[in-house]
Symmetry: C2
Subunit: 145 residues, 2 copies
């Protein structure tokens, strides 16, 4: 096989009921103080722990209903997504779509930390909600336009 590795394990997203409780648990497990964000338009609170070259992201809904609340109700606290860093997210989205993967986002959008992010549907990835992440360069410009 001559396919080069283009995907680097970047972070895992874990959905939790209560962010403060989960942050305390993960600090007791061995992580340092996380960065915390409240993202009103996605109706979540997030705590991001550094974990070597990657990150662990705890995500908790801040509303009474919606997709994440239903996800929690049906599956409980659990891994929500796995994210891989890529160099050129739009190119990778185009490539995997052509290969038959179902995309949730045909084009990337801005995530926390100014990351460009896009999701691939779990049914194309053996049950795993899969995220691509492109990290902006130091100028903050993640676009290649």
């Amino acid at each position: 096989m001559s396919v080069r590795t283009v995907l680097e394990l970047h972070h895992v997203g874990i959905i939790v009921e209560d962010l403060d409780t989960a942050v305390a648990s993960y600090q007791a497990l061995g992580f340092s103080e996380p960065e915390r964000f409240r993202i009103e338009e996605q109706e979540v609170e997030v705590a991001t722990f550094s974990a070597g070259h990657g990150y662990v992201e705890l995500v908790s809904p801040i509303v009474e209903d919606g997709g994440l609340v239903r996800y929690l109700a049906s599956r409980g606290e659990s891994v929500h997504h796995i994210a891989y860093r890529v160099d050129d997210i739009q190119a990778e989205l185009t490539r995997v779509k052509a290969a038959g993967f179902e995309l949730i986002d045909d084009t990337p959008r801005r995530g926390v930390h100014n990351w460009l992010v896009a999701f691939v549907h779990p049914k194309s990835c053996h049950g795993v909600l899969t995220e691509f992440v492109q990290i902006p360069d130091e100028s903050g410009n993640a676009d290649d336009s």
Copy 2:
């Protein structure tokens, strides 16, 4: 907070129905040829993809019943565990047990690649089966005895 980061994101384990099918999907997603193992005593086949500084491990049962088969039947293909690299696995197990975490393995055991591994119960980690991994030094000696 003065807790240092001791945990480095090392790999994600994904449980799949059929390993060949899943390997083909993950190669199409962007991974190179994996290393493959058949571990009779754990009744699994494993394919490990390099993913930057970490790994993605696809796991499939090779028997008709058992814990992983029941896991697949109840939860479907999904993330099975998240693994963190630590320098001294026995010290971390002792530390987190004292902090109240429920351990599946009080002492580490040998995993694939000669890694020393041990699991922390998902109910202590907000639903996530959590693995510690200590990588042996180049002499192959992971023990500090």
